[in-house]
């Protein structure tokens, strides 16, 4: 679904990504590891369409579409989602307000009349799809779109509850005054709400304590269960989150290049010996 070939990226004349090749298939979980400053976060931002970087000759395709010319909102509408490493504060704009608009932009009108038959159908769909404890995390985008605004709010409240976010969370200004852990859980809540096809998690594990890490990991697993064709690219510095997640592939990035790819054992190796010990 995602195909990156020879991706070269620079900022203010300085080359940061020096030829990245990466393919992510449907339903896969890829983990991208690497030391600080290796270019991991740059890759995440470039995939989302940040305008502060210059993208040079390369191939960047998502489900056959060329991403290079697309602005971030168009990429989001194709189903790409980035959980930010440092989510920015937007004073005076509530979490709900942003998510309502985001949902609308990505999946069509959230408000409006909810057709009785379609809502019945969506309920039964939900039951079939999600027998787990986090049943609320189900809900296909098309179903959510027809259920109306209050149903959407209810859905978000359930996600918030499952992530141990407070009752008034949806009313709070986006990321303003959030603790480090709340910011990360908020990103995960947004992922759940928008049901993206490709999720990029940029250091979602940093700033989380053990309980937070478990919560977030279990939410990611549930998301993958509910959205079996959606793929995840998880960027991390540490292997500790891999205690809870089972990646299909692990890549190691050093100095703007992917220097090694493998399976889970590669992550274990890094955890035990550090990046320096990896034999490139």
């Amino acid at each position: 679904m995602l195909r990156i070939a020879n991706l070269k990226v620079s900022i203010e004349g300085k080359e940061i990504l020096k030829g990245i090749d990466l393919e992510v298939g449907f339903g896969q979980l890829h983990v991208l590891m690497g030391p600080n400053g290796s270019g991991k976060s740059t890759l995440a931002q470039v995939l989302m369409g940040s305008s502060q970087f210059t993208v040079h000759s390369s191939q960047l395709r998502f489900n056959g579409k060329d991403l290079k010319k697309l602005t971030p909102d168009k990429r989001a509408r194709l189903g790409i989602f980035l959980a930010f490493q440092h989510p920015v504060e937007v004073p005076g704009v509530s979490v709900f307000n942003v998510l309502r608009r985001a949902k609308q932009a990505i999946s069509g009108p959230v408000s409006g009349s909810s057709h009785p038959t379609s809502s019945t159908k969506s309920n039964s769909e939900r039951k079939q799809q999600s027998p787990g404890s986090l049943r609320a995390l189900a809900g296909t985008p098309s179903a959510a779109a027809t259920r109306g605004l209050s149903a959407f709010r209810q859905e978000l409240l359930e996600y918030a509850l499952s992530l141990k976010l407070s009752d008034d969370f949806l009313r709070r200004s986006l990321n303003e005054g959030f603790s480090g852990g709340e910011k990360k859980r908020s990103e995960i809540l947004q992922m759940m709400a928008l049901s993206p096809k490709l999720v990029i998690l940029d250091e979602i594990d940093s700033g989380l304590d053990v309980d937070g890490l478990k919560l977030v990991s279990s939410a990611i697993n549930q998301f993958r269960f509910n959205n079996p064709r959606s793929s995840v690219l998880l960027i991390t510095h540490y292997a500790r989150i891999l205690k809870y997640l089972k990646p299909d592939f692990v890549h190691v990035m050093v100095d703007g290049k992917i220097v090694k790819s493998g399976r889970l054992s590669l992550a274990r190796e890094i955890e035990n010996k550090g990046y320096q010990a990896i034999n490139f």
Partner: protein, 465 residues
């Protein structure tokens, strides 16, 4: 929501109905025009004398040059009085069709159902529609257009009219005092709390027509009232003038909130004088939103005359291409233990200009005054401009006065974050602006807040497209 969109579109493109008037004065201003206005209204002699004295003051006073550029106003090219229909209308269905249609676009009937205790909808120079819910009448609350107020409560009007803002206060107050027409007269008896906002809508619907409404509000001891006025106007190519005067008297322990959203079309000069006198333990709150007009100069004021009185001014200004919003507020502390706050939020874009202009004055002996001023400006592009002109005159040492000012731009990280969630750049920008002004918008009645958010998005769409 659907309604809100329709409203915003029509606001933007303007809508004007065929002009249908019973009487229109000649263009320009002289003694005969003023006399004619007074005669048409069948006023008492003292008001006629007051008008004529005000005219003399107006003619003598120089144009103010310390603020926005007013040099293009041509006083000879303005109609000073237009009477749209022949009599006051009581019920909605009695209104002429085109006026009804115009108000339908603004959404008055629905708003009335939900929020209103009474409506004074001013069409041109005169209130044509006036309804008031019986429950307030029974409590002795008076809510009339100013002309009726003068007729029915002559003594009360005479006691207060021009006492907060004398004709000699400034050139435009003098002009208003000479040719005023319409506006609202409100009296709330002691201890009565009017807990649903009283609303009035003002419109200009004729080319070159000045609108000079005059509002007088008296909130007696321990009473409460919230008055809301919203202004919209169709787009015309020639310049128009709006010079209103609003006088408010807040008695001991009373409270008054006055909310304005003005969205005059971009050719209107909006030069308004608003002042409240606040007695012991009284509270005055101005919530003042300026979206439209070519030039606005407006600084709602609180004169805190009694111990423990409080004044709050929330000022909001949005300046688009060709607009200059020169807004702010004045707090005058005349007694001990008085307190006040001015919060100003302004947004300028597409070459628009905002100015914060404020006065904080504390006289000697006004001890233990507490005052806080905060003005934040958001500038969206290089062509736009924002300035701050704060004035402090503090003659007492034992006071607490704070002043903060900040100028900011739209943050690229915020835009990237919101667009990564699927919002278009326009939508994201609008949302950031809405968030910036939220501390003031949250004080507005719900329908205004919704309209305002829509308007901002529409402004952004036009700014880009």
């Amino acid at each position: 929501m659907v309604n809100g969109i329709a409203i915003a579109k029509d606001y933007k493109y303007g809508f004007s109905k065929p002009e249908k008037y019973v009487f229109k004065s000649k263009k320009g201003l002289d003694r005969s025009v003023v006399e004619q206005i007074s005669e048409m209204k069948n006023e008492p002699g003292w008001m006629r004398e007051q008008r004529l004295r005000a005219l003399e003051i107006f003619e003598k006073k120089k144009m103010p040059t310390w603020g926005a550029d007013l040099s293009s106003i041509n006083f000879d090219d303005i109609f000073y009085y237009i009477k749209p229909t022949d009599s006051q209308k009581k019920s909605w269905s009695d209104l002429p069709k085109e006026i009804r249609e115009t108000y339908d676009v603004i959404g008055i009937p629905e708003a009335e159902k939900k929020f209103l205790a009474g409506v004074t909808a001013q069409y041109e120079s005169e209130s044509v529609y006036h309804s008031f819910q019986k429950q307030w009448e029974d409590k002795g609350v008076v809510f009339l257009d100013m002309d009726s107020g003068l007729r029915e409560y002559g003594d009360l009007v005479k006691q207060y009219f021009g006492k907060a803002i004398p004709s000699a206060d400034n050139k435009f107050a003098a002009l208003n005092s000479a040719v005023w027409s319409g506006g609202s007269f409100i009296y709330v008896p002691p201890g009565v709390s009017v807990d649903i906002p009283l609303q009035a809508y003002f419109r200009i619907n004729a080319a070159n027509m000045g609108q000079f409404e005059r509002t007088l509000i008296i909130v007696d001891e321990g009473a409460y009232v919230h008055y809301v006025e919203g202004c919209t106007a169709p787009v015309y190519s020639t310049d128009s003038l709006h010079a209103a005067v609003v006088e408010i008297f807040v008695k001991k322990g009373a409270r008054c909130r006055y909310t304005t959203i003005q969205n005059w079309s971009s050719n209107v000069y909006n030069l308004v004088t608003k002042r409240a006198f606040v007695e012991e333990e009284g509270i005055m709150e101005w919530v003042d939103g300026n979206i439209g007009s070519k030039i606005t100069m407006k600084y709602p004021s609180c004169y805190l005359t009694g111990r423990g009185a409080r004044g709050e001014i929330l000022s909001l200004a949005l300046a688009d291409a060709g607009q200059h919003q020169d807004a702010g507020g004045k707090l005058v502390f005349l007694a001990p233990e008085t307190s006040g706050e001015i919060i100003s939020k302004s947004v300028s874009h597409s070459g628009g200009r905002t100015s914060y202009r404020g006065l904080v004055k504390v006289i000697k002996s006004a001890e233990r005054v507490k005052c806080n001023v905060r003005c934040d400006a958001l500038i969206l592009d290089e062509r736009s401009r924002s300035d701050t002109y704060p004035t402090m005159q503090v003659d007492e040492d034992n006071v607490h006065i704070g002043h903060e000012a900040a100028v900011s731009k739209i943050n690229a990280d915020q835009l990237f974050y919101l667009t990564s969630r699927g919002l278009s750049e326009i939508e994201a920008t609008s949302l950031i602006i809405n968030g910036f002004i939220e501390p003031i918008v949250k004080e507005l009645p719900l329908e205004y807040a919704v309209e305002l958010n829509r308007l901002i998005q529409l402004n952004m769409e036009n700014a880009v497209g």
